[in-house]
């Protein structure tokens, strides 16, 4: 079984040379730490920066340079700043190659819910609805089950949707899964996790074809 760093590490393998990548808050943010150093990738943050770098050294924080999680950041050579409308032109206009975000629920048809629990948690969708409605390549990073042990990979979402039929791939603490017209297709198992364990933790239809390899991370 993977921890959140392991999930980030596995997702980092999906990041290819020349990609512009938008990372959501939470596990997706960690992906930046594991991207291969011999490839060129630029991270976009929807509040208006392309070419995001690591956190600043203490004493060098700048209130005017933050990411979408409102954290102080730095920029790398070649970086640029822009306004919010232009930022979402990059996203809506499909100029961003890969979007990695978290989710509360994903359905077997690719629907995603990650912005609201009615009557309980009301924080808002931020840029998530724009991202999922537009991106060609969306990977969800999340735990396979919630705190109550219930599956987050469902036949259909129970929470208010963020987007419909948009998720392509899911990386959890247990597995790598592709969303296909037939359902959740199991591609890889996390180290030490059996196909049965994944089956038991998946409420939606799980497609298992042949031997399922263990992840290499």
């Amino acid at each position: 079984m993977l921890d959140k760093h392991g999930i980030a590490k596995r997702i980092a393998k999906e990041v290819k040379d020349g990609y512009y990548v938008n990372l959501g808050i939470g596990i997706p943010t960690l992906v930046a730490n594991f991207v291969r150093e011999d490839i060129e990738v630029e991270f976009q943050s929807e509040n208006g920066v392309l070419g995001m770098g690591p956190f600043p050294y203490e004493g060098e924080e700048d209130a005017d340079i933050i990411n979408a999680g409102k954290q102080t950041i730095t920029t790398l050579p070649g970086a640029s700043f822009f306004d919010s409308a232009m930022s979402f032109s990059m996203i809506r206009g499909q100029h961003v190659d890969l979007t990695i975000l978290g989710a509360m629920e994903v359905a077997e048809n690719g629907d995603i819910a990650n912005w609201k629990i009615p009557g309980k948690m009301v924080k808002g969708m931020g840029g998530a609805m724009d991202l999922v409605a537009s991106a060609e390549n969306i990977i969800v990073a999340m735990m396979h089950t919630n705190r109550e042990g219930e599956s987050k990979l469902l036949k259909s979402c129970t929470l208010p949707l963020t987007g419909v039929g948009c998720v392509k791939k899911i990386v959890t603490n247990l597995a790598v899964i592709e969303v296909t017209p037939k359902g959740f297709k199991l591609l890889e198992r996390a180290p030490g996790v059996s196909v049965d364990e994944i089956k038991n933790a998946t409420e939606g239809h799980l497609v298992i074809e042949g031997e399922i390899p263990e992840m290499k991370i």
């Binding site: 956190f55 600043p56 050294y57 924080e61 933050i66 102080t72 306004d83 609805m129």
Partner: protein, 233 residues
């Protein structure tokens, strides 16, 4: 040169009344019009509709207006950093319209650019699209969203001049340029009001035509919401 300079925040906010609709630049606490917000707290105008990506934190930014219950309705994309906001919303005291961030930016830009409405894929098939016109283009579904209408737009820039030209810094730019000229009156406050002619025309982000009033802001706190650092190795 058409002069947009006003003496201070008091003059800049003349005409502000109860029940008006305002737009505020800023993402989180970055690039928020601190002086205008402080003046609105002082004027204690009520029944406001506020368009802003976020709602500040409990004791800063738009949180200050929430504390005094000056806001009737909030139009935002993300409000997760403010407990008082959540309390007022869940108790029904505060009306809230949550909309996608890109839609928020574009509704401001549409108002600035003279478009009454536009189609976006964001929110299609979700509760955000309920009651809205939808339409298919090239096999994909889109939702019709309308330009904002507001009485005042409050903008924060890094540098500006009396002609109303503005330059922003870093990610404090965010929604600010999109909201310039999107309301009936655009009020810009700047950290540095420089003499006309000092700003390079090639480097101006927002031309003065989009700004009605500009003033030298004072005492910027520029609070950091999430101070994240790395260790020196």
């Amino acid at each position: 040169m058409i002069n947009k300079k006003v003496a201070n925040v008091t003059e800049a906010l003349q005409g502000v009344k109860d029940d008006m609709t305002f737009m505020f630049g800023g993402f989180g606490l970055s690039g928020i019009p601190e002086n205008a917000i402080a003046q609105l707290v002082k004027l204690n105008v009520k029944g406001l509709t506020c368009i802003s990506n976020n709602a500040g934190v409990d004791d800063f930014g738009l949180g200050l207006l929430l504390q005094q219950k000056q806001i009737k309705k909030m139009i935002s994309s993300y409000v997760g950093e403010n407990d008082e906001f959540e309390r007022q919303m869940l108790s029904g005291e505060l009306e809230v319209e949550l909309i996608p961030q890109g839609t928020l930016a574009e509704r401001a830009r549409a108002a600035q650019a003279g478009f009454p409405a536009f189609y976006t894929p964001a929110g299609y098939g979700t509760e955000v699209a309920e009651g809205k016109e939808t339409r298919e283009f090239n096999g994909k579904m889109y939702v019709l969203e309308h330009a904002f209408k507001a009485d005042f737009g409050f903008i924060k820039a890094w540098k500006g001049d009396a002609a109303g030209n503005l330059v922003f810094k870093g990610t404090a730019r965010n929604f600010n340029p999109n909201m310039c000229g999107a309301a009936n009156i655009t009020v810009a406050e700047v950290e540095e009001l420089v003499p006309v002619g000092e700003l390079d025309p090639n480097q101006i982000h927002i031309p003065g035509i989009f700004v009605q009033r500009i003033f030298q802001g004072l005492h910027y706190e520029k609070r950091i919401e999430q101070r994240t650092v790395r260790q020196r190795s």
